[in-house]
Symmetry: C2
Subunit: 521 residues, 2 copies
Amino acid sequence: MYMTQGIHRSVQTDGDGLATSFRGRKRTWSQFAGRVARLAGALRALGVRPGDRVAMLSQNSDRFVEYFYAVFWIGAVATPVNIRWSLTEILYSLDDCTPSVLLFEENFIDHAAALRQQAKSLTRFIFAGDGVGPDWAEGYETLIAESEPVADCTSGGDALAMILYTGGTTGFPKGVMISHRSLVCSTLLVAQVAPPDRKAITVHTMPMFHIGSTTRVFRAVHFGSALEILPRFAPELVIEALAAGIYADIALVPTMLGMLLDHSDAHGGDISPIRHLFYGAAPMPEALLRRAMTALPHASFYQAYGQTELSVVTMLEPEFHGIDKARSKLRSAGRALPGVDVKIAAVDGSELERCATGEIWVRSPSAMMRYWNRPDTTAETMIDGWVRTGDAGYMDADGFLFVVDRVKDMIISGGENIYSVEVENAILKHAAVRECAVIGAPDDRLGERVHAILVLREGHSLTLEQLSAHCAPLVGGYKRPRSLEIRRASLPLSAAGKVLKSVLRDEYRAKARRADEASDN
Amino acid sequence: MYMTQGIHRSVQTDGDGLATSFRGRKRTWSQFAGRVARLAGALRALGVRPGDRVAMLSQNSDRFVEYFYAVFWIGAVATPVNIRWSLTEILYSLDDCTPSVLLFEENFIDHAAALRQQAKSLTRFIFAGDGVGPDWAEGYETLIAESEPVADCTSGGDALAMILYTGGTTGFPKGVMISHRSLVCSTLLVAQVAPPDRKAITVHTMPMFHIGSTTRVFRAVHFGSALEILPRFAPELVIEALAAGIYADIALVPTMLGMLLDHSDAHGGDISPIRHLFYGAAPMPEALLRRAMTALPHASFYQAYGQTELSVVTMLEPEFHGIDKARSKLRSAGRALPGVDVKIAAVDGSELERCATGEIWVRSPSAMMRYWNRPDTTAETMIDGWVRTGDAGYMDADGFLFVVDRVKDMIISGGENIYSVEVENAILKHAAVRECAVIGAPDDRLGERVHAILVLREGHSLTLEQLSAHCAPLVGGYKRPRSLEIRRASLPLSAAGKVLKSVLRDEYRAKARRADEASDN
């Protein structure tokens, strides 16, 4: 199993077929293969050897895809950089995995210039944008034009293919080492539930440094499915891509789907060409699903649950997205993919009874090898072949997994375990609430108390008393919010579209500290 | 990746669902898992250790499936015996892989008794039939009732799971070693083209010692698809199974499909519940396809090409089975599955031009580990990760593979290479011909000459002159048959439904020798 296999097969069966499309620039599979082989030659000439890391700091583009495969082609290791990180976080991750080459584009010239000064390992820079790059960087197209193609080394199996950094917002980023075999297995496992649709084009909007997004790129190349690449998610870009009269296979988090529906309602634009809609990071709210099913009458919905360390491990199939039937499964993350073991474990790793909440443990052919340079964290996370997800959840009698919270987002209040998501779901049922997060705030009496942070709908207001009264019939008394904060701006989201509770906790603590200092003065 | 994973997942998601059905005997997944765990305990108590081989000599049954998984459950190695072999061939294979335990049923009591005397490694016997077995054998149901269940050792990955013997009719049988990973990968690769249909039941008719058949059993367990097991292929048994009102997923060779259609026409019996029809060993003749599509209006047809050393590596998808469109692909074996490398190679392994005929080489995650005890044969067959199939073929411009012959069935006549299948296809177009095989007969002048062996349709006759005239516009002059033999009985078939040309060649030579001896006297 090796990552470049899909290129060879696509050239064999569909050489003149469309491989990538970006801002009107289109390449066939034969052209794509030729460019990858020449970029691979260029990287080798720049001194990249098998096992060396090569970084890319870029919005999505067709060149981002070529970068991945040129790196695999010479047996090197792709380390795409999280573009939402601060320079400090990026620098930390680069100093950790020590790539010698960095590719970047016009949006990141300043970052690249700073990294050139500060990242010790970087010696060569490639400007992979359009227009003219800085004079200290090689030109991407010049390299491709002037380099000889090299033969695919077909490195694969247990060889390291990619390092993705995760957890940058909570402590130091950890480098997740993913082998060729794990990446290919991830594609094969998902295909059991969502087989390739040869009539559909993959419309790619999610940032390519994220596991849920890279695996979508790799899936398209594996199956020889054409990629329509958008530089980033924006509703108008998606609608423009869909206007080309294609059948689309797209991945969006529920929030993005909502934005897309809003934009379509407000400005027109037909989104019905979407045939396959993958979503993750959060269950699909029923109201949003109802809206989406009207706007997307031909679409199959697939929920995927996973994490960087595992890739996708459970899926909720299209048949459980009916409005009327199987509604009880809609808030679940679906069932383990065939070939994947999922269990709800006690602290000692033993499996809990059905419907009991515990940590989700997973054993999968798509699992990471280990963390880069972090044997202790690896030993804490991987136990007898199982990966501890850090997510809390339960499994119903039919084997459907319900993710209730991050284990570390659990609030312990008065000795009781409170899963914040459960409280959030209750709060979100209030008509005035648009966004909501619940965190544990330090409390002298309770240890932690339930603190709610809300964004309200235009023209609404809400007091703690009103909120508490709303929650009373929905959750146990000890789970009701004890304090409330209302914000105007949207809550901070991770690249995967999840609310960053660690940021909210940090902000809360900083504010409390300032208040303490003010009262001391 | 481990073979028993599917059992655990099916218990998790569908414990009360149907797992196996055989002659009216039905077991749920929970029952199946419990029986496997107890049979595993029994095998361990009989002294079977991880890596030990356990043999089974039996027609298909639900117990055959339990045998496979009980063996995997304790990390042992399944060696199902080819029931069409002579005692000599069976003995050879058992002395090669040295199992200590043999399971058998009522059809093979005599064989088992003989093996008890002659097979050196066998020490324990289990009667897995119905009724009372010989007193020197343990009773299968007694063992299950009286043994404690043991925990699944979850042996997997590169560990040896199964040895299947191949080539018994041509030289000595070779044991093909297949790992857990290869078997799971085989299921995942095929699922890309033929995803599981949860509404369908797998109707199992092909003998379980054959790769194309065992992998169908393993696929069903992996996906948690119910298995309706027939002891052997017989049209009336298939029709009886279909009468239960199920949607069926079935594998048949084209010959069997023809028999099924004949039986349905002659005796009635609705075969339309067949929804997924897998076939292999030979392309689907167009006339048969036309007939089948009328009788099976809801069926998707899938052709699979592979061999014991590789499992399935190319498939022809349902959309290429239309009568009117894509007819030119119908005689092909389809395209490489995504994740599988297929090339047409010259003798040195270099890839030939498109449409040139050479040996088919394959690199696949489903490939065997090596041959058991045969390092020399392994070294000849596996080269740089590629498996030489021994099949000759070519690939068209769209990447479709056409299998033209076994390399060793190629006839060299007057210095020209003649692929016998090409000649056979020409002959089969004659209305009088029901079955046909072409072999190379020793010839003083040509080296070999094209010799045709035919079975004619009822009431027809055919002379060599007529046959030659028929072939004249279809194949080059040097390819036309130079001698002809007409038989009344059907041609001998392998377990996979292929004409046994080695048998025909042996018979021809024996007959020629007898004729020589007679003329000498």
